[in-house]
C-alpha cells in the first residue's frame, strides 16, 4: 500500500513539473513583458516606467533563469506577490477561498445528496412514469445554459418574489444564507440533470444483480435494498465522479460569482489570464495541479475502503 502511494506521489510530482513547464510556455506564447507592465502600471504610463517595472519583476532575464526561478519558487510554495496589484497572493487566496466555499460546498453536498437520492428513487421505479419523467426533467435541466439560469433566477426570485437579495455578500453567518441561497439553487439545478442521468445508469445496472434478489428474499425492505445494498455497490463510479469535482470547489465559479457579486476565487484565474498576471496564474494552476494529483490518489484509496475486491498493488 505505502509503495503504491509513494509511486503515485512521485508520478504526481512529475506531472506537476510538466504542468508548470507547459504553463510557462503557454503564457509567454501570448503575453510579452511589455503587455504585463502596461496592465500592472496603467495604460498611460511612459515606456521608461514600464521598463523599470519589467526589471523589478525580473521578466527581462533570459527565459532559462526565469524558468528555473519559476520552478524553485513554486515548489518551495513561495507564492510571492501578484503582478497586477502587488498584493501577496497567499492573502488573496485566503480572503477569497471563504466566500467561494460558502456556496460551492453546500451546492456540492446538496447536489450529491439530492442527486443520489433521486437517482435511487428513479432507478427503483425503472420503466414507470417516475423513471420516464425523471429522465426527461433531467435532460431538460441539462440543456439550459447556466447563463440563463442566472438571469432567470435573478429576475424571478430577486426582482419579483423579492425573497433574496439580487446580489451581494456578507460573511456574517446570521446573514450569509440569504446571499448564497440563489447561487446554491442554481448550482444544484444546473448540475442535477447530468448527475441524475449518470447515477441512474449505474443504479439500474446494479439493481439487476442477483444479490439484490437475495437481499429482498431475506426480508429487506425496498428502501434498505436500494440505500444500503445497491448504493454501496455503486460507490466506485459515484466516487470517481464526486472526488474529481472536489478540487474545483476551491476555485469557485466564474459566472455565479461575477453576477452575484461574491468575492470568491472564481474570477481570479480568468482575471489573471486576461490581465497577463503571470505570478497569480501560475499559483492558481500550481495549486490546481496539486489538488488534481492528490485527489486522484485519494480516489484510489477510497476505492479500497469501499470495495474489498480492490487492492492497490
Amino acid at each position: 500500500m505505502i509503495g503504491y502511494a509513494l509511486r503515485r506521489l512521485l508520478y504526481g510530482f512529475l506531472v506537476v513539473q510538466g504542468v508548470l513547464g507547459l504553463l510557462f510556455v503557454l503564457f509567454f506564447l501570448y503575453a510579452e513583458p511589455m503587455d504585463m507592465a502596461r496592465r500592472a502600471v496603467g495604460e498611460k504610463a511612459p515606456p521608461a516606467v514600464l521598463k523599470l517595472w519589467i526589471q523589478e519583476h525580473g521578466y527581462d532575464r533570459p527565459w532559462t533563469d526565469q524558468l528555473r526561478d519559476h520552478y524553485v519558487r513554486m515548489l518551495s510554495f513561495d507564492f510571492g506577490r501578484s503582478d497586477a496589484d502587488e498584493v501577496p497572493i497567499a492573502r488573496r487566496l485566503r480572503e477569497g477561498v471563504g466566500p467561494s466555499l460558502s456556496f460551492t460546498v453546500p451546492t456540492f453536498a446538496l447536489g450529491l445528496v439530492l442527486g443520489v437520492a433521486l437517482s435511487l428513487f428513479v432507478a427503483y421505479f425503472r420503466e414507470t412514469y417516475i423513471d420516464r419523467t425523471g429522465v426527461v426533467i433531467a435532460v431538460l435541466a441539462m440543456s439550459v445554459s447556466i447563463l440563463l439560469y442566472i438571469i432567470g433566477s435573478q429576475y424571478l426570485i430577486g426582482k419579483i418574489l423579492n425573497w433574496f437579495p439580487i446580489s451581494g455578500f456578507d460573511p456574517d453567518p446570521r446573514v450569509l444564507p440569504r446571499f448564497v441561497a440563489m447561487p446554491i439553487l442554481i448550482g444544484v439545478v444546473a448540475g442535477i440533470g447530468g448527475d441524475l442521468r449518470f447515477y441512474r445508469t449505474v443504479f439500474v445496472e446494479e439493481t439487476s444483480r442477483d444479490y439484490v434478489r437475495t437481499a429482498r428474499a431475506k426480508g429487506c425492505g425496498d428502501g434498505r435494498v436500494m440505500a444500503f445494498h445497491v448504493l454501496r455497490n455503486a460507490l466506485i463510479p459515484i466516487l470517481t465522479r464526486v472526488v474529481t469535482a472536489i478540487p474545483f470547489l476551491f476555485t469557485g465559479s466564474l459566472l455565479i460569482e461575477s453576477f452575484f457579486g461574491i468575492p470568491g476565487l472564481g474570477a481570479v484565474t480568468v482575471e489573471a489570464i486576461q490581465g497577463n498576471d503571470f505570478s497569480t496564474l501560475r499559483v492558481m494552476v500550481f495549486i490546481g495541479a496539486l489538488a488534481f494529483i492528490l485527489f486522484q490518489i485519494v480516489t484510489d484509496f477510497t476505492y479500497t475502503l469501499v470495495d474489498p475486491r480492490v487492492r492497490l498493488e
Partner: protein
C-alpha cells in the same frame, strides 16, 4: 390432516409481450406439506422459477401476479400488506438461488449478511447475532466458521458460498425453503454435499422444501413428490415413483427418455423434437400438442383437464384420459 404448509391454486403471473401481457405461469396449482420435498421440474423457460418467485411475491417488474391464491401456513399471501410480506420473507419462507457466485453482496462480509437476515426479524444484540451465525455456519458444515465470518464473498469457494446462503435461509428457521436450482452451478462433489444438507434440513428440522430443478438426477435423490411443468402449466404430478417409474404424460416420458444414462450405447440420444413455444404465442389446446408424438385432434383444439391416475398421481392429457376410460 392439518392445512398443508403451502397451497397454491390457479396461480397466473404475466409479463408484457408485444403489446399485451403473456401468462408465463398459467393456472399452476401445487401444494406442499411440512417435512416433504416437492420437486418442480421442467425445461428452462417453463415458468418454474417464476412460480417460486411468485410465492414470495418477488416477481421482478414489469412482471405481475395476475390471479390465483397462495396460502402459506394457512395465511393468504396475496392479502398481506407490503410490510407484512416483508416480515414473512426470511422468517416464514426462505429462498436460496442458483448462482452462489453472484447471490451474495460482494462488498459485505459473509457473516454480516447472515447477521442482517437475523436482525431484520428479531431484536438481538450484535454479539448474539454473531454467535448464532457462527453456530449456523457449523450446522451447514462450513469449516472454521469463526474466520469465515469476516471473509468477503470473493474470498470463498462456490460450495462454501452456497452453504452461507443455506445458513442465511435457515437463520430464522422458516417453515418453507424454496431452493431454485441450488446445485446447478456447482461441481458434482459439492452437489452431493449440498443435497445431503437439504436432506438433513427436511428430516431433522422438518422444513418443507420446494426444489426447482431441471436435473432429474437431483430429483431422484431428494424429491418426495414431483410436479412436471411445461410452457407455464402443470403437465403431470405425483409421488417420485409415480412420475419416474410410471410416467404417463408424453412430455414426461420424452423427458425421462432423454436422460443420457438411459440411452442404449451406440444409439443416438433420444430428444423431443421442436422448441418450447415462447410466452404469448402458445398454441390453443394442449401446449405440448405441436411436439407430442401421441398427439390427437382433440389435443389441438381443447385444453386437457386433470386425469387422476393414482392416489397422488395426475396427468393433464387427453390420451391419458382416454386410456383411463374417463374421456
Amino acid at each position: 390432516m392439518s392445512a398443508p404448509l403451502l397451497e397454491v391454486t390457479d396461480l397466473v403471473t404475466t409479463f408484457p409481450a408485444d403489446g399485451s401481457r403473456a401468462a408465463v405461469v398459467d393456472g399452476v396449482s401445487i401444494h406442499l406439506e411440512a417435512g416433504e420435498v416437492l420437486a418442480l421440474v421442467g425445461e428452462s423457460g417453463c415458468g418454474k422459477s417464476m412460480t417460486a418467485l411468485s410465492i414470495l411475491r418477488l416477481v421482478p417488474r414489469p412482471g405481475r401476479i395476475e390471479s390465483g391464491r397462495i396460502e402459506l401456513a394457512g395465511r393468504d399471501v396475496g392479502a398481506l400488506s407490503v410490510n407484512e410480506m416483508r416480515r414473512v420473507r426470511g422468517a416464514e419462507a426462505a429462498m436460496i438461488f442458483q448462482e452462489p457466485m453472484t447471490s451474495l453482496n460482494p462488498v459485505q462480509a459473509a457473516g454480516d449478511q447472515v447477521v442482517e437476515a437475523i436482525r431484520l426479524h428479531e431484536r438481538v444484540s450484535a454479539a448474539d447475532a454473531r454467535a448464532r451465525t457462527v453456530e449456523l455456519f457449523e450446522r451447514v458444515g462450513i469449516p472454521d466458521p469463526e474466520s469465515r465470518f469476516d471473509a468477503y464473498p470473493h474470498q470463498l469457494s462456490g460450495g462454501i458460498k452456497q452453504r452461507v446462503m443455506v445458513a442465511m435461509a435457515l437463520s430464522m428457521s422458516p417453515k418453507l425453503l424454496i431452493a431454485d436450482e441450488p446445485t446447478t452451478a456447482l461441481d458434482v462433489t459439492i452437489q452431493a454435499q449440498i443435497l445431503e444438507l437439504l436432506r438433513e434440513v427436511r428430516d431433522r428440522i422438518g422444513m418443507g422444501i420446494l426444489l426447482i430443478t431441471h436435473d432429474l438426477g437431483v430429483v431422484n435423490e431428494l424429491a418426495d413428490r414431483i410436479t412436471v411443468m411445461y410452457a407455464g402449466q402443470v403437465a403431470e404430478e405425483g409421488t417420485r415413483e409415480d412420475v419416474l417409474a410410471r410416467p404417463r404424460h408424453p412430455y414426461t416420458q420424452g423427458l425421462l427418455a432423454s436422460i443420457p444414462s438411459r440411452a442404449r450405447p451406440g444409439e443416438p440420444l433420444a430428444e423431443i423434437a421442436g422448441v418450447v413455444p415462447s410466452p404469448g404465442r402458445f398454441p390453443s389446446g394442449c401446449r405440448f400438442a405441436t411436439r407430442c408424438f401421441r398427439v390427437i385432434d382433440r389435443c389441438r383444439s381443447e385444453a386437457p383437464e386433470a386425469t387422476r391416475i393414482g392416489e397422488k398421481h395426475r396427468a393433464w392429457c387427453h390420451v391419458v384420459a382416454a386410456e383411463e376410460g374417463k374421456a
